[in-house]
């Protein structure tokens, strides 16, 4: 569910051929407008279907939107903390057609890349965005072998067996800030929702196909203008594609990807309505240490906001710190951003931040790290 909004917003953002500069733009995009996009002619996620791996690691261009999402928490040798996000979004600008392509450049596929790096030690948050057409070799997504790229930003398998997704390499660089990371999953794949089919709203086909790798061992280097750091840590990967839209009264969401030090992971999102209430399409997944997982409903989770942070750039007031509890599991987690300002001021403004977790499980202390995504707080109707 989580990042669907971004892509849908992109559909309307696609109107501006050259999206606004991250620093300069104050344009806000209207969610409802973005969601109003015509879905006619696109493939729909009408029900659970068996995935065909490794082909399904690649692109599904007949669906309107798709993304490959990596987030992770990393430490250098001297325990300096970093958080990163690297996402490639794909968006079909028009329904698929059978018209003859008279040029390699002709396409209906638009790619957008987001890269952010949180550096809490210096309090710096780097965010970059870029766009390209999914044609002429400039950007694309394929599998096998798995490769998603947008110009020189890439996520690409380096496995000897080309059908294998892992190990894979992430390479991103922008304005002297970059990551070059090797990723190897320690958990098997997690199919979200119902066998990877995740309903988003009422109505047939208002759903996405969604799977994750919830714990991925990560090693590599981070480059900053101040120097280069060898880092290690863990990442999280999501891959999701869909066509359909959110409900009209939904204004944003809070999404949590939490990795606990007892080996468990939790994915949970809550959709927020205009009146502040929680949408029924709220839920998540609990992954056990052995890799088995189960769906968790909204009724199993209690989410309480403990603090707020006002963005000096957008003026948006974001929740900053939560208590998330699963009473059924006797689990209570205090989730705190590693730094407050992890807002991406790109064509779609949102918060995507590394978090620390402390809490108790069955009365025992528990800790962890994770990533939180917050949308719809910047004062627009979003």
């Amino acid at each position: 569910m989580r990042r669907l909004i971004l892509l849908l917003l992109l559909l309307s953002a696609a109107g501006c051929t050259t999206p606004p500069d991250a620093e300069e733009s104050d344009d806000t995009l209207n969610l409802a407008e973005a969601m109003g996009g015509d879905t006619l002619g696109y493939a729909r996620a009408v029900g659970p279907q068996p995935f065909d791996f490794p082909t399904d690691f690649g692109a599904h261009p007949t669906f309107k939107t798709e993304w490959w999402y990596f987030t992770g928490n990393l430490w250098s040798g001297d325990k300096r903390r970093f958080g990163y996000e690297f996402t490639v979004f794909r968006s079909a600008l028009r329904p698929p057609d059978s018209l003859a392509r008279h040029s390699e450049w002709s396409t209906n596929q638009l790619y957008m890349g987001h890269f952010s790096l949180a550096d809490p030690e210096t309090g710096t948050f780097h965010a970059h965005e870029r766009f390209s057409r999914g044609a002429a070799g400039l950007a694309g997504a394929a599998s096998p072998p798995f490769r998603v790229w947008l110009e020189d930003w890439s996520m690409e398998t380096v496995a000897a067996d080309p059908s294998s997704l892992f190990p894979l390499q992430l390479q991103v660089e922008a304005d002297g800030v970059g990551i070059d990371l090797m990723l190897d999953a320690t958990n098997p794949i997690v199919l979200q929702g119902e066998r990877g089919w995740d309903p988003k709203g009422d109505g047939n086909g208002n759903a996405s196909y969604y799977f994750s790798f919830t714990r991925i061992e990560t090693k590599g280097t981070i480059t900053l203008p101040s120097g280069r750091f060898n880092v290690e840590g863990s990442s999280w990967k999501d891959h999701e594609w869909s066509t359909s839209a959110l409900g009209k009264d939904e204004v944003g969401w809070d999404w949590f990807a939490l990795q606990l030090d007892d080996g468990r992971e939790i994915m949970f999102y809550q959709l927020r309505r205009e009146d502040g209430s929680q949408s029924p399409f709220t839920g998540g997944t609990l992954v056990e240490a052995d890799g088995s997982y189960r769906h968790i409903t909204r009724n199993e989770v209690k989410l309480q906001v403990d603090g707020t942070w006002e963005s000096p750039v957008s003026g948006a007031i974001y929740p900053s710190g939560w208590t998330l509890s699963l009473p059924g599991e006797d689990l209570e987690l205090h989730v705190t951003p590693v730094m407050q300002n992890q807002e991406l001021n790109v064509s779609v403004r949102y918060f995507e931040g590394a978090v620390d977790i402390e809490g108790t499980s069955n009365g025992q202390p528990i800790a962890g790290v994770g990533y939180v995504e917050l949308t719809g707080y910047d004062g627009s109707t979003l």
């Binding site: 501006c16 050259t18 600008l93 392509r101 008279h102 040029s103 002709s106």
Partner: protein, 829 residues
């Protein structure tokens, strides 16, 4: 006074008109270049032909260089074959932001999906849409190289801040995909625009070097417009020179009119002197008056110059389109500089020309103001001095011409000195002429004729100037006329022997003399295999990099025929035609050899698809199609070294006994379904070429006419001054019994005689000018060898023109003189 103003106005109008036309063409061109260059500082340009778009992909995905935007440019016509020219600018909207913002900024609402999608879509400016009568959402037919495609106008654009609406005139912005389709250039780009930062430029260049394909190079964005500027430099310089010629003639005229106004008020000046006004004050008064005349005349001139500029800019643009490159913006660009120049020239010339009359007026001693003879004696005695100065000026002019090397501007200065020298000699020649003609005139026209002839001689200070002005004007027009005729004859002769085949096939292109449109390969095969076609030879026009310069290259197939040996200016000792096929030998055209100082046996580095290769120059051939210089390569060598396999034209020899017109009809009907092709007989292609030639000289013709007009007004004012002065003399004649008719006849005969003298004197001067234009100016501007071909008709016309102009100019003063009341005129005596 009205005449003085008219004279100044005409002179200024011509100068301003030409200047505006020239600068408008340049500004329009620069504007269109800047519009499409945007904020790019550099560009990766191909060594020849186009760039493979893979270079761009490498740049983005491998080197991570992001300040780069792909561009594919070309031209098309809107609507039909004769529709307005549109420049196609193919871009990637997602790479555009740092470069250009036509596809919309953050607030834009371009439908990217439709823009980049498989259907052909594009954007045009609001005013262009209005002019074409279409709205956004409408379809627009595009005609290019004989094919029609349809594009949907997605939206209309407004210019970027700081750019005028005109900058977007006839600009069609499309996606790279659409451009590749419209321009039939799959996988290709014209260039990759770059923004290189000042700091760390070396590192950036090193990064770029890694993906630079062979032959391609990185050049500053300014190079493009300056290269194209240089192409037309000689062309516009010559136009400017022509306009200055009109100004020189105009100066005579101003001199005349100012003299006229002084003469007219001779008695007033005398009286003023009598009551104690100083000479200095009077000359100041005259100069001030000249300044006023200059100001009014120049103002009127500037306004009329703007109108003239409107006509001329059209002609100049058309010539540039025919000869050099496609210009999409065509509008008069009012530059304050151009208008200021006109004002300066007009005022300057007027005041300068008024100096002599002002001095003359101040010299008027109250008691002798009514006496004229002093002047005449002076000019008689000064005749030697004038001739001396003339001789000196002629020497100086010749020296300048000799020393100026290749400078066209200096060459014109030299010619100006020679004209001035001739003008100074004219009184002496006129004197001799009129004396010599006196008995002859006496025989034909009796006493009136004899008196008319001696009248010229007696009033030399006035008539000489009139004769000089008329002579210079007529000589200038006949000189230019002879030059154009010689040029045309040379081109015609050249066309006759260089167009040997029976039929020529080519797709309609944008620039007549540099047509690089291509014929469909299938159509080409079809034509080659037609019944009645005996032999076909292909021609390909391509742009390649030779010695680091983009050069037009003509690729030809060797013919199994003897070719006219006269087509070569210089040949090597070996058979260069055979050598061009067997090894790396090329030919260069005469202007190429001239421009780049190239000789037979020299080596030229040609950037081929596989990198630079050295070719030997096997021959220099005559070519009048391009003053930019062309290189000729054999098809087989071209196919060895280049990947391009297209042809731009076919020369067809019909089989024996086949009717050419019938074959043309057959070819036309056989190819009717596909690409629209121009299929022309030898004769009609030659005619079309000559038509273009004539068109390019239309500006020249307009200027010639204006020069004559200026001269005519000059003669009119000079004669009026002259006859005004003679009022008393004529009154005496009237008092002595001469009838008004006789007076009229005498005056008219006298002016006719002056015209005849001017006409006759203009013949040698015109020939000299023609010779200088052909062998100095043309040589130094373009490097062409032209035959010096004198059409006697041109000379005869010149004499006739002078006589008619003089007769007309003499008729008005003659009439008023004959009606003058003799007693009234004599009263002052």
């Amino acid at each position: 006074m009205a005449l003085s103003i008219l004279g100044v106005a005409l002179g200024v109008a011509v100068v301003v008109g030409i200047d505006l036309a020239n600068s408008s063409a340049r500004t329009a061109f620069r504007l269109s270049t800047e519009t499409v260059t945007g904020r790019a500082t550099h560009a990766i340009v191909p060594g020849g032909g186009l760039l493979q778009d893979d270079t761009y992909r490498q740049l983005r995905t491998e080197t991570g260089f992001r300040n780069a935007a792909p561009v594919l440019e070309g031209y098309t016509r809107a609507g039909a074959e004769t529709g307005p020219v549109l420049q196609i600018l193919g871009i990637d909207p997602l790479a555009e932001e740092p470069f250009r913002s036509y596809t919309g900024g953050p607030q834009g609402n371009l439908d990217l999906g439709a823009f980049m999608g498989p259907s052909l879509t594009g954007l045009i400016s609001r005013s262009t849409a209005d002019r074409l009568g279409i709205q956004s959402g409408a379809s627009l037919a595009l005609y290019r190289e004989g094919k029609t495609s349809t594009i949907v106008i997605l939206d209309v654009m407004d210019p970027e801040p700081g750019f005028s609406e005109a900058s977007l005139t006839n600009l069609l912005i499309v996606d790279i995909a659409t451009a590749q389709s419209l321009l039939n250039a799959p996988g290709q780009l014209s260039r990759i625009d770059l923004i290189l930062n000042e700091d760390g430029r070396a590192a950036q260049l090193e990064k770029l070097d890694r993906v630079l394909p062979s032959g391609a190079r990185i050049e500053p964005a300014s190079t493009r417009s300056s290269t194209l500027d240089q192409m037309t430099q000689a062309f516009s310089l010559n136009l400017t020179a022509m306009s200055l010629l009109a100004m020189v003639v105009g100066m005579f005229l101003i001199y005349n009119t100012m003299t006229f106004s002084v003469v007219q008020r001779r008695s007033l000046i005398g009286r003023l002197r009598g009551i104690g006004v100083t000479a200095r004050e009077i000359s100041g008064l005259i100069l001030a008056e000249a300044a006023v005349v200059g100001l009014i005349g120049s103002t009127i001139g500037m306004v009329s110059g703007i109108f003239l500029g409107h006509v001329l800019v059209d002609l100049v643009t058309r010539s540039i389109n025919d000869l050099y490159f496609t210009v999409r913006i065509q509008e008069l660009n009012l530059s304050w500089l151009g208008l200021g120049k006109g004002l300066l020239v007009g005022m300057g010339a007027t005041v300068l020309a008024a100096f002599a009359p002002a001095r003359e007026a101040t010299r008027a001693i109250p008691s002798t103001v009514l006496r004229r003879s002093e002047d005449e004696t002076r000019i008689e005695t000064h005749g030697g001095l004038l001739r001396g100065i003339g001789f000196f000026l002629a020497l100086l002019g010749a020296l300048i011409l000799w020393m100026s090397g290749s400078s066209i501007a200096l060459s014109y200065v030299g010619i100006l000195f020679i004209i001035l020298a001739a003008a100074l000699w004219i009184p002496s020649f006129a004197n001799i002429g009129s004396r010599a003609l006196r008995p002859l005139m006496g025989r034909f026209f009796g006493i009136v004729g004899r008196m008319a002839a001696s009248g010229i001689h007696h009033s030399l200070s006035r008539s000489a100037v009139a004769i000089a002005a008329l002579t210079v004007a007529v000589a200038a027009t006949s000189g230019v006329g002879i030059m154009v005729d010689s040029f045309r004859t040379t081109v015609d002769t050249w066309l006759r022997y260089s167009l040997e085949a029976d039929i020529y096939v080519s797709p309609p292109g944008m620039v007549f003399r540099r047509n690089d449109a291509t014929i469909d390969t299938q159509v080409e095969r079809q034509i080659r295999a037609m019944d009645g076609v005996a032999e076909t030879y292909s021609v390909r026009t391509a742009r390649v990099q030779i010695e680091g310069r983009m050069t037009d290259m003509v690729v030809t197939e060797p013919r199994n025929r003897e070719l006219e040996p006269g087509r070569y200016k210089k040949r090597s000792s070996y058979d260069h035609r055979e050598a061009m096929v067997s090894r790396d030998v090329i030919m260069v055209s005469e202007p190429y050899a001239f421009r780049y100082n190239t000789d037979v046996g020299d080596s030229l580095q040609v950037m081929t698809a596989s990198g630079p290769r050295t070719f030997e120059v096997g021959a220099i051939y005559y070519d009048y199609a391009s003053d930019l210089g062309v290189v000729q390569m054999a098809r087989s060598r071209y196919e060895t070294h280049f990947t391009d396999r297209y042809v731009s034209g076919l020369a067809i020899y019909a089989a024996d006994g086949v009717d050419i017109d019938e074959l043309i009809d057959n070819l036309k009907s056989a190819t009717a379904d596909g690409q629209g092709l121009l299929i022309r007989s030898n004769r009609s292609l030659r005619q079309a070429s000559l038509d273009v030639f004539d068109q390019t000289f239309t500006v020249t013709a307009v200027l010639r006419l204006l020069t004559i007009l200026v001269a005519f007004i000059g003669v009119l004012t000079a004669l009026m001054a002259l006859q005004l002065e003679r009022a008393r003399e004529l009154s005496v004649l009237r008092a002595n019994g001469m009838t008004p008719g006789q007076v009229q006849r005498m005056v008219t005969t006298q002016t006719g005689l002056m015209g005849l003298l001017s006409g006759l004197l203009s013949v040698p001067l015109g020939l000299l000018l023609a010779w200088l234009l052909i062998f100095v100016i043309n040589q130094r501007s373009f490097g062409w060898t032209l035959q010096f071909d004198v059409d006697l008709m041109v000379l005869f016309q010149a004499v006739l023109l002078a006589v008619i102009a003089a007769l007309l100019a003499g008729w008005i003063p003659g009439r008023s003189m004959s009606r003058m009341n003799a007693t009234e005129a004599l009263r002052f005596e």
